[in-house]
């Protein structure tokens, strides 16, 4: 209907006048002829379908809604299209969800990280659905020659209310495709009270293919003539290949080629190693047994976890080398305190252990690098690959594949870049698959860390002073490693009148990364456990103590919806306590622990019900969660995220750690790195406080409160304080 410069070429004058006439009514088009803003935009897709924007396409074949962001198990391939369907008034059963191609111009940020998919896409996707709906109404009104104000929409239909006439969206698509697209900023959105779909329980759109074993994941990619690759890196980060028996490896049965790749200096992209390309995965894996590599480790990591722990224990006696935050008069607060408490908290490095090992299929053909990758940051992957193989970014075509878990690991695209580098040397498509051992040995780990905490209480049992010497790690000698930083703004910083946070960063070479709820996942453990030490020392009820800390309902930063709101915090603390029966009498050997944490704009409180048997054997019976992330998009998916966060948090807390010696991870597979099994999964009771604030993400914020809630419950039962993760390090099981 229009050329590239936006001129209307097909719409006839009568129809156009009618449309502009309608603009004052129900259809707000925002089209102004002869004016520069906004230009009418094509609503016609390449195949003649109705395609008013990047998220909606309707043809006689059906209603297609595009899911822009990577699906890693957080449910956005279902939840984001639901937002469009709601405003479109499409019947959910009529909708086919399509995973979008990567296109920053059309979709802006396409990534899975920071629990940002829902908040980022909430408004644009509502507008996309609403704009399409308005156009379908206009199309129906044109066909019937009626006022669009007399029309309503429901279940993928426009209904002319006075006459009862109906036209389906599919029938209207060709007419709507002729109409100018309204300015998305001008379309009228539904009032939340009119929502029909949002907040309901919707089963994931990929569930049927998942339960029937269809190819969905990156690792499932198949192509004619596909080759299979394995990539062997130095066990210590930064090692280079000095010598390798490549000729012998090449002669092995099933092996097609073996070659060395040099590092490009960026561990997030390409580390040095030996690529083995074979006729099937097993031949590639098996050839590794015959591969002999002499590594040059002169510049490689020498990290030692035991050495770091000793160093931290020594340093914890004093203050940190640098001051991060200093408010009030801490020395005076401690000098005047009725009571002071101290505790040294520590936690180990952990691995992501997403169940689908890192992989990518790459095919260098016709000057194009075509990639099939399960990545959380596909746009970043394209950039890294383009830079490495020195082609323009539009020569890198990346197909988003479902990811078998992410948890932050797939924000790093090292496996994607490796696959591209290997594919440059291979004739035809090649699938790189990491072994589990590769995956655990070459992770971007959640950093370990240490908090030497001190708290001061006044005569009324109020928290007046807080000192923390935070000991973390640095790769560059300056900044903390990824996910290993802290600020004075994290809870309870803003609530303590006299507050001092210092830090010391120990040198560390092994790359660290973002692990579900980065920073928060461990800071919550230290801070919220220590708050319970303080309330216990003051002889006070922990709920009452936390509510007093929060004070009057207010945003900690006015106008910032990503800031903590004390009223929302108090709301979830009360709700969790009430739902868990806080204060009730429990059988001998059983206790409750409560913790609150705010992260990724989510306010979450959790109560763990725990019993402790002989030999420090724990049983977490039930976890009650109250969460305020605003209105819920998909109730089923939201509950899944909360249940998963609780189980993930418990799994990590109980027995997961990666220890390093001589720069090498010593835990390499699940027999050394235990994941929680079904028999130990607690019941998870989820309560959403559905406030009117805009919805925020739920992939992360329900994880941080779990560890302190369980630790506080252990204290309630045993009087023993848990200050070290994983619990297995101190004999708990």
């Amino acid at each position: 209907m229009q050329s590239d410069n936006g001129d209307i070429v097909k719409l006839d004058r009568r129809a156009f006048l009618k449309l502009t006439g309608l603009a004052g009514g129900g259809l707000i088009l925002g089209v102004t002829v002869g004016c520069s803003r906004p230009q009418p935009v094509a609503a016609t897709g390449e195949d003649g379908s109705f395609q008013p924007n990047a998220y909606v396409r309707i043809s006689e074949e059906g209603i297609f809604i595009y899911a822009p962001n990577p699906e890693i198990g957080q449910g956005v391939k279902t939840a984001l299209p639901m937002i469009v369907a709601e405003e479109l008034d499409a019947a959910w059963d009529d909708v086919t969800v399509v995973q979008s191609e990567i296109d920053a111009a059309r979709y802006e940020r396409q990534a899975a990280g920071g629990s940002r998919s829902i908040p980022d896409k909430w408004t644009p996707m509502r507008r996309a659905g609403a704009a399409a709906r308005h156009m379908l109404v206009a199309a129906a009104a044109l066909r019937w020659e009626v006022d669009p104000e007399e029309c309503e929409t429901r279940d993928s239909m426009v209904i002319h209310t006075p006459s009862g006439r109906r036209l389906s969206y599919l029938e209207l698509a060709s007419t709507a495709a002729e109409l100018p697209v309204p300015d998305p900023d001008d379309v009228t959105l539904k009032d939340p009270s009119e929502f029909r779909l949002l907040g309901k329980r919707i089963s994931g759109v990929d569930n049927r293919p998942l339960v029937t074993g269809a190819a969905l994941f990156g690792i499932d990619k198949q192509l004619p003539g596909l080759r299979y690759a394995s990539y062997v890196q130095c066990p210590a980060e930064g090692g280079r290949v000095k010598r390798a028996n490549l000729e012998a490896v090449k002669r092995l049965p099933g092996v097609i080629d073996a070659f060395v790749l040099e590092s490009n200096g960026e561990p997030t992209e390409l580390s040095a190693g030996v690529a083995i390309v074979a006729v099937d995965t097993w031949s590639a894996f098996k050839a590794r047994r015959s591969l002999e590599v002499e590594w040059d480790e002169s510049d490689a990591a020498k990290d030692s976890w035991s050495r770091a722990q000793e160093e931290a224990r020594r340093l914890a006696e004093g203050e940190g080398r640098e001051t991060v935050a200093d408010r009030g008069d801490v020395n005076r607060a401690f000098g005047e305190a009725a009571r002071t408490v101290s505790g040294f908290y520590q936690y180990a490095f952990v691995s992501h252990a997403q169940l689908e090992p890192q992989n990518t299929t790459a095919w260098w053909h016709d000057g194009i690098m075509e990639l099939w990758a399960p990545t959380q940051s596909p746009q970043g992957a394209k950039q890294s690959v383009a830079k490495l193989i020195r082609v323009a970014e539009d020569r890198v075509v990346l197909h988003q594949m479902r990811a078998g878990g992410g948890f932050g690991r797939r924000l790093m695209n090292d496996a994607v870049v490796e696959a591209a580098a290997i594919a440059r040397r291979v004739d035809g498509p090649v699938k790189l698959t990491w072994t589990r051992e590769d995956d655990m040995a070459h992770d971007f780990y959640r950093a370990g860390g240490f908090h030497a905490l001190q708290g001061a209480l006044d005569g009324n049992g109020r928290l007046t002073g807080w000192r923390n010497h935070f000991i973390s790690f640095t790769e560059d000698g300056d900044e903390p490693v990824r996910g290993g930083g802290i600020s004075g703004d994290v809870d309870p910083g803003p609530f303590v009148p006299h507050y001092r946070l210092t830090q010391t960063l120990l040198p560390w070479r092994t790359p660290c990364g973002y692990w579900r709820a980065p920073g928060s996942n461990v800071i919550a453990f230290a801070h919220q456990s220590f708050l319970h030490e303080l309330s216990s020392a003051a002889g006070r009820d922990h709920v009452e103590f936390l509510l007093e800390l929060m004070g009057e309902p207010r945003w900690l930063e006015e106008g910032n919806l990503w800031a903590l709101h004390t009223g929302r915090a108090a709301g979830v603390i009360r709700r969790a306590a009430e739902a868990a029966g806080w204060g009730r009498t429990l059988p001998e050997g059983r206790g409750l622990g409560l913790a609150f944490y705010f992260s990724h704009a989510g306010h979450v409180a959790e109560v763990a019900e725990v019993s402790v048997g002989s030999d420090k054997r724990l049983n977490v019976h039930k976890v009650t969660v109250a969460a305020d992330v605003g209105p819920i998009v998909n109730l089923s998916g939201a509950e899944n995220q909360v249940q998963g966060s609780v189980i993930d948090g418990l799994s990590a807390m109980l027995g997961q750690r990666i220890t390093f010696e001589n720069g090498r991870a010593r835990e390499l597979n699940f027999h050394q790195y235990p994941l929680l099994r079904i028999g130990r999964a607690p019941e998870v009771d989820v309560h959403f406080v559905q406030s009117d604030f805009p919805p925020t993400g739920l992939g992360e914020p329900a994880l941080p409160p779990l560890a302190p809630a369980v630790g506080n419950a252990i204290f309630a039962v045993t009087g023993e304080r848990v200050r070290r993760l994983p619990l297995s390090a101190e004999g708990w099981s």
Binding site: I72, N207, T212, D220, T281, K286
Partner: protein
């Protein structure tokens, strides 16, 4: 070698005698529903049925299974496409998160119900113990299995 998978006999040529069933299924037969997770029989993502009994396909050489009836997730539904009640329950209960472990979980659960149609929750936990779920869908897995065992297929 000749392998009977999901009721069909396949003639397969592999380079290595010790190629695990997992890689024959995935790389040679295109049956990618069976997943690779650990390679050492620790995670259960690779679970299939060998003569009706759950087995870690990553740890069994395919060559040892000539003459056996192998069933994979692709063969769990009826030949006419009707889903196994557990598959339907998985959809109805919205069990999967990332979904990567679920074919293994389903194969374990199906073997359990074939042998013990009315298991207790504890028996479900014992039967599914070998299968890890990194996302933490255990409660819904248990709920879906119990719903089928109790005769209800939908919420």
């Amino acid at each position: 070698m000749r392998l009977n998978v999901n009721g069909r006999v396949h003639e397969v040529e592999v380079v290595h005698e010790d190629t695990p069933l997992l890689w024959v299924l995935r790389d040679h037969l295109g049956l990618v529903g069976t997943k690779f997770g650990c390679g050492i029989a620790q995670c259960g993502a690779c679970t299939v049925h060998v003569d009706g009994v759950p087995a870690f396909s990553c740890a069994v050489p395919a060559a040892a299974l000539e003459g056996a009836q192998i069933t994979t997730i692709e063969g769990l539904a009826a030949a006419d496409g009707t889903l196994h009640p557990l598959q339907q329950a998985w959809i109805d209960h919205d069990v999967p998160q990332c979904g990567y472990c679920q074919s293994g979980q389903l194969m374990r659960a199906a073997a359990l119900l074939a042998e013990n149609p009315r298991p207790s929750a504890t028996e479900v936990d014992e039967a599914l113990d070998p299968s890890l779920c990194r996302c933490g869908t255990y409660n819904r897995i248990r709920g879906a299995v119990m719903a089928v065992a109790g005769g209800e297929h939908a919420e």
